[in-house]
């Protein structure tokens, strides 16, 4: 009566180490995990509440710190780059917010399984739930900063046209990539505990190598190389529609290619190592 489906369906769990059917299990895990999004949502909300417990601003601290950064960096770099503030500021605001989101997500992805150790070792759950929890958690944090973009765009009079709606598929691409990275880095970091430090270092380097503070045009002819930077391609799918009147087909193509690549890689690792995660965390 309490769990009618479980009672009547009488699930059968079969596992034969000689025929592990890894692919089938991984796909079933993904499907079951996505169906349990309510659980992932509840856990993600608890995560956020716990992280900012007792804090007055809570997740808005990130908005506040980004706002301060936008003002400070905006004043300095618009002078350095000899650009007008109204031209530079909207671009910087969107850039910084998208970058902070990507950065936090990648750094946090190392914890997607290790952080859920207590649950993984005690309860049989689809591993996808933990990844979904991590993605929703980061999406919720990012959502707190969205008003800041609107404020900056309104203040500088750089209100985008209807093409701004294209930022939504851009955000979807980032979310899909977050899932892939959460699976991929989550698995690797469960096995090798040095990876999170390496990832943090790479992200710091990527911040300077990607056009976050500087505009791609400053590179001149060399800007043609930029699509090889996956962070640039993904950032541009959101930033382009919001402040540059849209992103080029090249950018969208590159972003889609990177997404396909990251999903394939994540799936290969998930299929191969899913059964080992419980032993590793």
């Amino acid at each position: 009566m309490r769990s009618p489906d479980a009672r009547t369906a009488s699930p059968v769990y079969r596992h034969d180490a000689d025929h592990p059917r890894q692919f089938e299990r991984a796909v079933a895990d993904l499907a079951a995990g996505l169906r349990r999004w309510r659980l992932a949502w509840a856990l993600a909300r608890l995560d956020i509440r716990n992280r900012y417990r007792g804090s007055v601003l809570g997740p808005f601290w990130m908005t506040a710190s980004t706002a301060v950064m936008v003002c400070g960096i905006g004043l300095l770099y618009s002078t350095l780059f000899k650009m007008s503030l109204t031209e530079y500021l909207p671009w910087l605001a969107v850039s910084l917010l998208v970058w902070t989101t990507i950065n936090q997500t990648v750094v946090d992805s190392c914890q997607s399984f290790v952080g859920a150790e207590g649950v993984i070792r005690q309860m049989p759950l689809p591993y996808t739930v933990h990844v979904l929890r991590f993605v929703i958690r980061n999406a919720l944090i990012a959502a707190h900063s969205l008003p800041l973009i609107a404020v900056v765009l309104a203040l500088t009079g750089a209100i985008p046209g209807p093409e701004a709606l294209l930022a939504i598929p851009g955000l979807v691409l980032i979310a899909i990539n977050s899932c892939a990275v959460g699976l991929f880095l989550g698995i690797i970091c469960a096995r090798f505990r040095d990876i999170p430090q390496i990832v943090a270092n790479i992200m710091q380097l990527a911040f300077f190598l990607s056009p976050v503070l500087w505009k791609p045009q400053l590179l001149g002819a060399d800007a043609a190389w930029l699509p090889f930077n996956p962070f640039f391609a993904l950032m541009e799918t959101v930033r382009g529609p919001l402040v540059e009147g849209g992103a080029s087909a090249m950018i969208w193509g590159a972003a889609l290619a990177y997404t396909a690549l990251s999903c394939t890689l994540a799936m290969i690792f998930f299929v191969r190592f899913r059964g080992r995660i419980a032993f590793w965390v």
Partner: protein, 242 residues
């Protein structure tokens, strides 16, 4: 019908975050221990080795053996947490596990929120969960404390809540660690009733325990594990006498 069938079931834990090199030297010196090197030269603990058994509906099985014999690992494997490294395992029927009462509890959330969370972990809908929280709240007798973060609870209160939340399900196969039968003296009377009901409604009970009293009152069959192997398996009366 619910049943459990294991055929040469093996579980090995890799040991990664220890000094594998010095461990290997010691392994060379002492052959036959539970630590061994696997095919890809990792040091592994053979937690379960070649277990074969079949549990029929209606059986109440006690897993007995010393600490580290593999009882809890076997429970976790049956629950589907660890995937077998070798052999075959078939578990037919809905499984409920009472392995760690605090599993999935969040210290910052209130008692009620934790019960709802547990319901979500078990795959219930939110409406079901809210109803369940009411029932579990009454059962645990926590009263107004139900809406206070559980990090402020006393140990006894935490146990009551965990117990109430963990016994929300009605599985066909119930996996239990003896932990669940230890606890607050006040509470033990009602807890026992609820457990009895849970056990009676389940088709199969597998319980890991040291306590022979529990084995005698609750079980029909005992499996003795030693060093990850089954050393004896039979009716309770034959296994532990009176």
């Amino acid at each position: 019908m619910a049943h459990i069938e294991a055929d040469r079931l093996s579980i090995e834990f890799p040991l990664y975050h220890v000094a594998a090199r010095s461990l290997k030297k010691r392994l060379m010196a002492r052959a036959g221990a539970r630590l061994k090197e696997d095919a890809s030269h990792r040091i592994v603990v053979a937690a379960l080795r070649d277990l074969s058994f079949r549990i029929q509906p209606g059986e109440r099985v006690a897993l007995i053996g010393n600490n580290g014999a593999g009882k809890t690992t076997l429970l976790r494997t049956l629950a589907g947490i660890y995937e077998p490294v070798g052999g075959r395992l078939e578990v037919a029927g809905s499984v409920g596990s009472l392995i760690d009462p605090g599993a999935g509890m969040d210290g910052e959330a209130t008692g009620r929120e934790n019960i709802i969370l547990r319901g979500l972990f078990l795959g219930m809908s939110e409406a079901e969960c809210a109803r369940m929280a009411e029932e579990a709240g009454q059962f645990s007798g926590l009263g107004e404390f139900l809406d206070v973060p559980i990090r402020t609870y006393s140990a006894g209160m935490a146990i009551r809540l965990s117990f109430a939340a963990a016994t929300l399900m009605e599985p066909q196969i119930l996996l239990m660690d003896e932990w669940f039968l230890a606890g607050d003296a006040d509470f033990i009377q009602r807890a026992t009733q609820r457990l009895e009901q849970l056990v009676t409604n389940a088709d199969i009970l597998v319980i890991a325990t040291h306590d022979m009293k529990i084995v005698r009152t609750w079980c029909t069959r005992a499996i003795r594990l030693e060093g990850g192997r089954i050393v004896a398996d039979g009716p309770v009366a034959d296994m532990i006498g009176d």
